[in-house]
Symmetry: C2
Subunit: 213 residues, 2 copies
DNA sequence: CAGTTATCTTACTCATGGGTAACATCGTGG
DNA sequence: CCACGATGTTACCCATGAGTAAGATAACTG
């Protein structure tokens, strides 16, 4: 079985397959990041070598450096890729004219889907420990911003009566923690699809947060 | 500043300090495991070298091998050390004659304290990725057992009416996830003490789980 | 106090893997 | 169709860190 056959068998097309060498930098860079995300999730950041990632794409290690500065950067890009979905969910929530609880639901759904995606593991694990000061500061800033916005939605909900009285800080931590944890156990092969998991978790928290009549 | 002064300044006495070499294998082994747990939590498993751990104790690397088989084993022992607290909480819950919700509270309190302890990070992160098949299987078994017992308490609670109707599996996942997540952000320097955090999280979930009147 | 054992150190080995240099090759625009 | 820039490759360097071997030294034991 060739490398190409193996990669394809895993269900992940590589832009390097198919005879002709093509010039499509953006597409290839994307493929590199996705391959890295999958490998990191599967085996962990430190147990994944750049050779592994390159092999999964049917390419050699130095090629990766043509698309990415270094290994750290790769992890950071995986983080950013996952972030997009969350940003979109916040936008959607802002556009909707629902009450706090409904807006929170929209955000949490996007959040849960992002965490269950191939980038989820990287988003959750990309932290101080493996990154230099600059990158780790950027990540902390982004995560802090998300936390802040979730708290704001919770407070809006308690203000408009759609969420029961609660400590916004603890509530946000608890919900985000529970959702983040999904990245630790969810695999694509799982019985439950990502959307299913998201809905159930959200259902659980919504029931818990709805005010007592 | 000597190594001893540094270690002491960090608030962690080492059995190797204090002139005379003493024979106290159990105590020293314990110190090794605690030092490892702190270092892993601080910098991560892969970013911590055995030299680091040894230095924190004022000792050289080969000495560690006198107390522990290898690095994996060290991580595994950290996991087990943290487990003790959880086991005790389950025992206490069994002895108590409260309803499901009250028993769950006892367990969750012990669980949260264990996660917030110095071993919490290791408990949460000790997984397949960094351990060989045998150890990883043992850890998965222990974690599965905990999950099973938490679900049982939830079901008991819904049966006796102390917990609202809910999917026990999702509920257990959500609660355990939220508590596990504490290990990712809690540090001893934190404004909130561990017991405080535990109580607030439990309060949050209890309010959410209490049945509607 | 002498021999024995537990404990610890110095001084290594060796595999791994991130990163780079220099060269080969493909595609495309003039 | 050819020269030049965009892609990739082979072959390397080198720091790090897990683990070991063999010897030193301190604490017990008789």
């Amino acid at each position: 079985m060739t490398q190409q056959q193996r990669t394809v068998a895993a269900g992940h097309a590589s832009p390097w397959h198919g005879g002709r060498r093509r010039r499509d930098r953006a597409l290839k860079r994307d493929a590199v990041i996705r391959a890295a995300a999958r490998a990191f999730r599967e085996r962990g950041y430190h147990n994944t070598s750049l050779d592994d990632i390159a092999a999964a794409l049917g390419v050699t290690k130095p090629t990766l450096y043509y698309y990415v500065r270094n290994k750290q950067d790769l992890l950071f890009e995986c983080f950013q890729a996952g972030l997009a979905g969350i940003g979109a969910a916040f936008d959607e929530a802002r556009r909707s004219h629902g009450n706090g609880r409904e807006r929170l639901r929209i955000v949490l759904r996007g959040y849960a889907l992002a965490i269950a995606s191939e980038f989820g593991w990287c988003m959750v694990r990309a932290e101080d420990q493996d990154l230099d000061a600059a990158m780790s500061a950027r990540i902390r800033a982004r995560k802090g911003e998300i936390d802040r916005q979730i708290r704001a939605l919770i407070q809006q909900g308690t203000a408009d009566g759609s969420i029961r009285d609660c400590d916004a800080k603890i509530t946000a931590f608890a919900i985000a923690g529970a959702l983040n944890w999904i990245a630790h156990w969810h695999r694509e092969s799982e019985a439950l699809a990502a959307a299913d998991i998201a809905d159930r978790f959200i259902g659980f928290f919504e029931d818990g947060l709805r005010p007592r009549r």
